[in-house]
Symmetry: C2
Subunit: 298 residues, 2 copies
Amino acid sequence: MALNCSADLKIGLSHVLPVASDSPIFTATARMGTITKALQLLDFFSREQPEIGLSQFQKLALRDKATVYRHLTELVDNGFLEQDQHSRNYRLGPAVLRLSNVRESTDPLRTTLDPLARQLSRRLNELVHVSVLQGDILATICYANHCSAALRVSFDESELLPLHATSSGYAVLAFGPGTVVDDVCAGKLQSFTEHTVTDADALYAVVNETRQRGYSLSTGIKEDGVASCAAPVFNSASEAYGAISVTFPTVRGSHNQLLTLTSSLLATARLATVQTGGQLPDGLEAVWSATDQISIAV
Amino acid sequence: MALNCSADLKIGLSHVLPVASDSPIFTATARMGTITKALQLLDFFSREQPEIGLSQFQKLALRDKATVYRHLTELVDNGFLEQDQHSRNYRLGPAVLRLSNVRESTDPLRTTLDPLARQLSRRLNELVHVSVLQGDILATICYANHCSAALRVSFDESELLPLHATSSGYAVLAFGPGTVVDDVCAGKLQSFTEHTVTDADALYAVVNETRQRGYSLSTGIKEDGVASCAAPVFNSASEAYGAISVTFPTVRGSHNQLLTLTSSLLATARLATVQTGGQLPDGLEAVWSATDQISIAV
DNA sequence: CTGATTGGTTTGGATAGTGAACCGCTTGGT
DNA sequence: ACCAAGCGGTTCACTATCCAAACCAATCAG
């Protein structure tokens, strides 16, 4: 059971990058069920690639064309995809809207966090996004980019983020369910830049550092020239279920800028926690308040 | 292929009602892939049932418990479900939020229609919902209920609606893709009340009537005492891809009330069509304008 | 015309999913 | 205390299902 799980989870990471292409044989060895294979097809969609054709899917997923085709048609039959009549391309279908609607109507997570993200982005003039823990990766559920500067981070890259290479990931690793850190460290830590933490011990160190600071900082761990800081958002058990992050070009990451930024970030995270029915862990409130004091002094 | 399709589609209808229980053998005969079986589990969630346990799933889906369990865990692994730690119940996961976000960011369907629904509901003081065609059923993607009367329709029943037994369905059948009417008529027309149209010819008649009127009317076809009228929303090819409907107790369906109601409904549908990049078919604009004239006169 | 795309379809052989029975646990009635 | 019924979860032989490679038909470029 534990073995199956970790196998599945490794797969989850693979398509954060287009595909780990090394040896086609090795990728095939990893066990995963039909359902997983089909659902992973959905993960290839993104903002700049809202429509995908059969052949393109086959290349992305490195699977047999016939298999992909059957999976696609079955997804279409269930409304998770719809097919353009003349281009024959596939795009996400109405079922995802319906389901997210059902979920939001009983537990309005995005509905409450989205305004907070917008507000924060507007105040800081930087990219903000909100992600929640899903297995051992992060799923971005909303974002806001009110940055008006010429140099800005164009987010539109990936909606699935690795925990070990994003500031949001750091925050969740530090304050989330205890098992996650170990799970992630047990797996392979894919390298994105030369600053990506690929060593388990080093990652543990970063996590500890983050715990003491109360929020996370990172520069160039996923993409060069991009810095980010993130604060955890807690559930009622005072476990981080997600994080709010601010992402900006490293050149705008001066000491003073960072302080004002984190002040707003922490305030937003506090709000987010409260508004989603969560509670900050005991020690943290003091740490966050101290940070506020410093930033006010500056 | 055509056979497979229609078979799959019939399945789609089955879980509008809990389950067509007749003969367990017969339900098992219907061919459907693993993916479909797994995805259909997601359809059992609704507003009043946001959490479902394993055994309950098994009863609802009439499938083997082990199978259901494996499907559920695989859905959890992919973030489509999440499991409560102590109750062990399942609920919809963050993946649906992420995917709907991806879709909305390139084609903001719900984002644009939701405000219109709210506005209409507020004006009319009745339940409004917006549904889109998905195969041969309707998926409700948003709704609004600003009804303040003591007697009101509590929508929270089903987010998947049959085309032959809802006013929205009538509207889509009348103005949607030509094949849909035939597909639906070819299938079994499940009866909900004594007013449900279960005869194919009768349904064709209703559809024709709806075409001439320009919008649909219904009373008690899915539930007794509930009336509804709906207007189609069109895509750029002037085909209805969905509908906006107003649902109310039959006692509030007097002639005058209906006229003012349809006037607002048609205006909203026109807006919805335009704002989602669609276009009204040639003849319809005149019909809708005429309706407006009548209502103004009243 | 060829050749290289595209989306879609067929085939037998092997893999991956199935379901009856089973397990350990908690619940609740007596 | 007891037993029975319910729960979530697991096992394993069987076989239905899916996979891979090859094949179609249509389109487009040169």
